[in-house]
């Protein structure tokens, strides 16, 4: 979970930084998109690594959930959770929604099977047209809030799984994980929100 998670944690940052070019104007984003497409070796290597990581992450996640459910043997009749965070307890659920989001997102902007009304090959125009439909924009925003929940637990867990954490550093690393999760989520949310409110046209 940690190693594949680490790949995905790195990817969301790179993806976000690229997307934020939206705010620099159509030319910047379109040039960046063109540069990516002019380097098929780079883009396909990244896609393959991501695909393998996503499938491995899901596979290990399912295996963990099933094993852990069996080991628990039902658990006590009275629930008295002391410390486990909301994020940690909802990892499988937030994960499933994020998977659904990824599938929709690829259909929407990569395969373009979801109808988006725009002209030409401007990525900028495509994004603005895509988020002009409020239902889709809101779905993106909700998914990113769940990604925030997922990352909040995931990023801090990476340190623990790799053995790079102790009680002295726990608070600071958890805060770092929360800051990272919120930065990623709010960064992504800013784009559909800006389109919805008319800041990006």
């Amino acid at each position: 979970m940690a190693l594949t998670g680490l790949v995905l944690i790195g990817f969301v940052l790179g993806h976000l930084l690229g997307n934020l070019l939206m705010f620099k104007g159509p030319a910047a984003l379109n040039e960046y998109a063109k540069w990516l497409h002019d380097h098929p070796g780079l883009i396909w290597t990244a896609r393959m690594v991501l695909l393998i990581s996503v499938f491995a992450h899901i596979w290990v996640g399912i295996k963990l959930s099933l094993e852990n459910k069996a080991s628990r043997d039902g658990g006590p009749a009275v629930d008295a959770t002391r410390r486990a965070s909301l994020g940690s307890r909802t990892m499988p659920y937030s994960g499933v929604v994020i998977l659904g989001f990824i599938v929709f997102h690829l259909l929407h902007f990569t395969f373009k099977s979801v109808a988006v009304a725009y002209q030409g090959d401007s990525v900028y125009a495509m994004v603005v047209a895509g988020f002009s439909q409020p239902a889709i924009a809101i779905f993106y925003i909700v998914s990113m809030l769940l990604l925030c929940l997922h990352l909040g637990h995931g990023v801090s867990s990476v340190f623990q799984t790799l053995g790079l954490r102790n009680e002295r550093w726990r608070g600071r690393l958890d805060a770092l994980a929360q800051a990272y999760a919120w930065f990623i989520a709010l960064g992504f949310i800013s784009i559909p929100l800006a389109v919805l409110t008319g800041c990006l046209k």
Binding site: S71, P76, A84
Partner: protein, 269 residues
């Protein structure tokens, strides 16, 4: 309820206690218990309940207990959903009835985990922990004569850290509190206690790999960093031991993978 200086000195309680025979499904049984002194320990309260059941000609509740001083790790009840009850850092035997309210309903269950099958009522079989210890929780030395203590210098901070890990009494509250039924806190404590001392170095990698393998085979779950074990451990063992277990395991696996056989490979020169 008897009062002294305005404070209740005895309690009347409603108890929901788990009744189960080995291999059969169990259920809660309700009993009323009066005149429980607030100075009684939780186990003494259970003794009172059993005496009342004997007088009524009924079957008593089986529960594990031994030293009643908080150091042996035998007592093992989940009280109102919390292993060892509501007080942090104490065992069931050191939990006193003054921590409960008059008229309160208290739910008492056994440890719930697949690796700890119920023997009877509140007593569970914790021999899975013994198997983990047998697989590597020791150092191999010639016994019979004590060696000169100063032959092996141990830095004070290392000795302290090993002692913190060795505080684990192997009660199983970590498994019972974990939403995954994982034994990582126990195994982490046992591995750390030996792996950081000079005496434990010779078998460090073998110990780590063997104990983790035995833990997995026993049917314990996997750690997903909830942190419930640390919050319920009667000895306040921290998640540090799990981080260090992960680190030592990774190290041992890499070393095992690239270990030398001492022979040239087939087809090589």
């Amino acid at each position: 309820m008897v009062q002294e200086n305005g404070k209740a000195t005895t309690l009347a309680l409603k108890l929901r206690v788990w009744r189960q025979r080995r291999g059969q499904p169990g259920a809660f049984e309700e009993h009323a218990l009066a005149a429980v002194p607030t100075s009684a320990s939780f186990l003494e309260m259970m003794d009172m309940l059993n005496e009342q059941l004997i007088k009524q000609g009924k079957d008593t509740f089986a529960f594990d207990h031994d030293c009643r001083e908080g150091i042996c790790g035998m007592c093992s009840m989940t009280i109102n959903g919390m292993p060892h009850g509501p007080l942090p850092g104490v065992t069931t035997c050191q939990l006193h009835m003054r921590n409960f309210r008059d008229g309160e309903t208290i739910t008492v269950e056994p440890w719930r985990a697949r690796a700890f099958p119920v023997l009877k009522d509140l007593a569970v079989d914790r021999s899975a922990f013994d198997k983990v210890i047998q697989s590597g929780g020791f150092i191999t030395v010639r016994t019979g004569s004590a060696p000169e203590a100063n032959n092996i210098p141990v830095p004070k901070p290392v000795a302290d850290e090993a002692m913190d890990a060795a505080e684990c009494i192997g009660c199983g509250a970590c498994v019972a509190s974990c939403k995954n039924g994982s034994a990582m806190l126990f195994v982490g404590a046992k591995i750390n206690h030996l792996n950081i001392l000079p005496q434990g170095q010779a078998e460090r990698d073998r110990r780590t790999l063997a104990m983790v393998k035995t833990m997995d085979e026993a049917g314990f779950g996997n750690c997903t960093n909830y942190g419930e074990c640390q919050a319920h451990c009667p000895k306040s063992i921290t998640l540090d031991v799990i981080a260090k277990l992960n680190r030592d395991y990774l190290r041992a696996r890499v070393k095992e993978f690239f270990s030398s056989t001492g022979k040239p490979s087939k087809g090589g020169d």
